[in-house]
């Protein structure tokens, strides 16, 4: 039992970080119909900004983290929207999918060439001491990761539902034409979405990299899992992405511990196929309706 609790808690901790990435992914999808195949790399890159800050420039950790957040928001938020999404979106979803894939390769190879191919240790923000909860031994880091990610998702939801800007962002995502008529600056709202996505990716990066080490190839699995979490939970709902992320984190851990480690990677995929075939709008999602 205590082992199960342990597996469950560490699954939730990883899952909550997946959820952060999946939420950003969902937001960008809603606002700009962009399926971002570089999302995993967006999580990989900020950790390298921090490493450049601490190792190359010699900044203290907190300053490096803050600067990395700002740089990420500018580069993978604003520039991504201006230079990649805006010019390519009119020519269709598939072109944009390819462009984001190419961007993913670009970021991955750049991290490898300009920083290094080996996994780099990453400074932990929290103590990793084990603590004991009802017999389950969990690290402090896991618990804090879980609390922070959930807190951020709750804050984001409050922002989107309770503030004027947040509601305008939702309006712009749901029906840009009407939102524009009602005086919402749709372009700016879409830009905010990209900035928020970049900030979420950076935060996920700071939380997950101490566990996984900073490696140029981190994005590959992370990106895929975030998509799957978003789809399984429900593509058009933030809480869907949250549920999907947590579910995959927990199921992944349970499969690896109790069933099969070899086919561990297959589980989210099977889940994805089942959900898409049985309930395409996702577990929490509402049906978008579709033609044909």
């Amino acid at each position: 039992m205590s082992q199960f609790l342990q597996v469950l808690l560490s699954g939730l901790a990883t899952g909550s970080i997946y959820a952060l990435v999946a939420v950003g992914f969902t937001l960008v999808w809603q606002a700009a119909q962009t399926v971002n195949f570089a999302q995993g790399e967006f999580v990989m890159v900020p950790a390298f900004f921090v490493l450049v800050g601490t190792h190359v420039v010699g900044l203290p950790l907190w300053l490096a983290l803050a600067l990395a957040l700002v740089v990420s928001v500018v580069l993978i938020g604003a520039l991504f929207k201006k230079l990649v999404v805006e010019p390519i979106l009119p020519s269709g979803g598939i072109s944009l999918i390819i462009a984001t894939m190419a961007l993913g390769i670009l970021l991955k190879e750049s991290a490898k060439e300009f920083y290094g191919a080996e996994a780099q240790p990453f400074p932990a923000m929290f103590p990793t001491d084990p603590i004991n909860i009802f017999g389950a031994v969990v690290s402090m880091q896991d618990i804090l990761n879980l609390i922070i990610s959930l807190g951020v998702v709750v804050l984001l939801t409050l922002f989107l539902n309770r503030t004027r800007t947040g509601r305008s962002m939702q309006a712009a995502a749901q029906n840009p034409a009407v939102a524009e008529i009602l005086g919402v600056n749709v372009k700016r709202m879409v830009m905010y979405t990209f900035l928020i996505n970049a900030a979420l990716a950076a935060l996920a990066s700071f939380l997950i990299t101490p566990v996984y080490l900073a490696k140029f190839s981190n994005g590959e699995t992370l990106g895929l899992i975030a998509f799957i979490a978003a789809i399984v939970g429900g593509f058009n709902q933030i809480r869907g992405a949250l549920v999907g992320g947590l579910l995959i984190g927990v199921l992944d851990n349970i499969t690896a511990t109790y069933i099969t480690a070899e086919y561990r990677a297959a589980l989210p995929l099977v889940l994805l196929i089942i959900v898409i075939l049985v309930r395409p709008q996702g577990i929490m999602g509402t049906s978008e309706g579709r033609t044909v």
């Binding site: 020519s91 390819i98 670009l106 190879e109 895929l224 789809i231 196929i273 898409i276 044909v292």
Partner: protein, 326 residues
Amino acid sequence: MRRWIRPALIGLAIILAILAPVGQGNYITYVLTSWLIFSIAAMGLNLTLGYAGQISLAQASFMAIGGYTTALLTLAGWHWMLALPVALSFCFVVGLMLGYPALRVKGHFLAFVTLAFNTLVFLILRNEEWLTGGNYGLVGMPRPDFGLFSTMKQHHFYYFTLTITIVAAVIMWWIVRSPWGRAFKALRENPIRAESLGVDTRRLTLLAFAIGSTYGGLAGALVTPLVQFIEPASFGVAHSLRILLMVVVGGAGFFFGPFLGAGVVIILPEFLRFTEGYYLIIYAALVIVMLVFTPKGLIGLGALLRDRFWGKRVARGDLKQGAQLK
């Protein structure tokens, strides 16, 4: 374009393809052969994506299915020509099954289902060691031998592949020009109208997947004797993306797009080799730039330039037949 230009260009391309490896070393011939093979795979995906409008990120997994089937059968002593139909039928059936999700979901959802399928195939190939050799893969598949014409030499294998490519291209040409091909385009352009005109969209979607996958399988069946070593890592998601890239770079929905795209994707890295580690970075940047400026692919670039310098006869939209139906 004038009527004779197209056949003349095709003839010229075939002559160039025949002359290309003459006097070249084994390595260049090898690169050219893999260009042909990937053209076949991209041709299949072009049917699924470019003509029928169904996105698939699983083409590499069909290369894997075709490749492993051929490998296992030829290692068991079958002749390649006998193993080929088995591999192709297998791919056709699996492709048909993969088409079923496409009946339910579209666009990015379909992209993810096929992506997941590709990863599952990869995992099975890696984990089922008793059959596939796991991470070590399979080694030593013989090249086909036709008595008088043995393909053991790199040049001979190139001509063998070229012949098969031309046959595959002619069959594809026939498919695209046949009523099927037009129905595929109808499916892409407007599924509702296609359905109302009596096109069986359900059967066509499945067929688009099955035929596209069979071409992937053919490419796989050719890779096996070319490399004589196959491993799961050569058929991962990254390779499906590469094939998709070929289709889009060349120009999705254009018959010759895949050949051009495969050429760019396979041969361009060879030219960028002098940049050493940076070539993938430059390459990815070039792809993004290309998508910004010529979203229809390189064939689209040709049309873009032509429109720019030659001008174009524009038919008035409101006088076209059926304009009021829009």
